[in-house]
């Protein structure tokens, strides 16, 4: 079985569990946030993928991280993936799950990176603006990323709308 098929299998299983639990929207959002944190933290990623660390220990770390901050379903799903030794594929599995969830609602995933958190009003207006701009209803996922410095970067499927300060600075550096 190829890695891609395996990732898709895990994503489908997690999706079905969350939908059966009736917490798909909430679980999907929490998993998405956890995946972005997982990608940005080398220590967390190394710990959860270290074969020398016992599975029980890695699962305990997950429960410590998410316990009380996320739903029990989210915690159990992440623990399940880490316990099965697929921690390295966790972000890809979660992205497939989010895509599947959005597709089930005829939505496109819009990943928005911002240096600061967006208010609910800003998220609603931004979702509407992106929908108008792309012609697609979007499932907005906001990621707080200090490296953006300022402004926003929105990615919808293959379309990237970049209004970040970091990109402007990079362009200025290139011109200089």
């Amino acid at each position: 079985m190829s890695t891609d098929v395996r990732i898709d299998g895990y994503a489908r299983a997690l999706f079905e569990i969350a939908r059966a639990e009736g917490t798909l929207d909430e679980v999907e959002d929490e998993l998405f946030r956890f995946a972005r944190s997982y990608e940005s933290s080398d220590a967390l990623r190394n710990t959860l993928t270290d074969e020398q660390v016992p599975v029980a220990k890695r699962q305990a770390i997950v429960e410590d991280l998410l316990g009380g901050k996320a739903t029990s379903t989210t915690t159990q799903l992440v623990s399940l993936v880490v316990g099965s030794g697929r921690g390295r594929d966790l972000p890809a599995i979660i992205d497939r799950l989010v895509a599947r969830a959005s597709s089930s609602k005829n939505l496109s995933v819009a990943e928005v990176r911002s240096a600061v958190a967006l208010t609910d009003d800003q998220q609603a207006r931004l979702a509407a603006a992106l929908a108008n701009a792309t012609g697609k209803q979007v499932n907005l996922k906001v990621v707080v990323d200090p490296s953006v410095l300022g402004g926003l970067v929105a990615t919808i499927d293959d379309t990237v709308i970049d209004g970040s300060v970091r990109t402007r600075i990079d362009q200025l550096k290139s011109r200089l």
Partner: protein, 188 residues
């Protein structure tokens, strides 16, 4: 006393009235003496002609042949000398023409060397000029590049420093977010 005088004395003995201590004539001897003297002279000349003549003729002939040989030798020597002189003149002429040819060759080679040297010198000067121009342009470009790089580096450093100091404050963050939403919405 020679033979003529003896004959004269003997003839005088026949004429007793003649004083033997005196001459009959101051110029002419006695007739008999004259006859005897003439005959004797003729005999002597005849003998001389017979015996000494061939020797003298032979000597003259030998002398003539020797002189002729010497003349022939001289003529041959003169001819040989003339030939040698001609050879010498010819050799001298050849030497002169060879000298002229060598001088002409040397002049041609010297001219060719000078021309080649001038051409090479001109090419080297042109190369040096081109290289100098290229070096100047390169140096100018390098200075420009270094200046731009330095400006960029300073600008980057200033930007990073400003960002580290919180140049993008909360108000600015909100302005940027609102501007982004407005811009995306306007693109509908």
């Amino acid at each position: 006393m020679n033979t003529v005088n003896v004959l004269t004395v003997l003839a005088a003995d026949d004429h007793h009235d003649i004083d033997p201590s005196r001459s009959v004539h101051w110029l002419w001897p006695e007739q008999a003496e004259l006859i005897y003297g003439t005959v004797s002279s003729l005999i002597i000349f005849g003998l001389l002609f017979k015996f000494a003549g061939p020797m003298v003729a032979k000597a003259f002939k030998a002398r003539t042949e020797r002189i002729q040989d010497e003349l022939d030798s001289s003529a041959a020597a003169q001819t040989e000398a003339a030939a040698e002189a001609a050879e010498i003149r010819k050799a001298a002429g050849d030497i002169e023409s060879e000298r002229a040819r060598l001088l002409a060759d040397a002049d041609a080679q010297a001219e060719a060397v000078l021309a080649e040297g001038r051409a090479r010198l001109d090419a080297e000067v042109a190369d040096l000029n081109a290289k100098a121009d290229a070096d100047i342009a390169l140096a100018g470009s390098r200075v420009g590049d270094e200046l731009r790089a330095e400006v960029a580096r300073l600008a980057n450093a200033a930007t990073e420093q400003a960002l580290a100091a919180g140049a993008v404050d909360a108000a600015t963050q909100q302005e940027l977010i609102e501007a982004f939403i407005a811009k995306v919405g306007a693109n509908a």
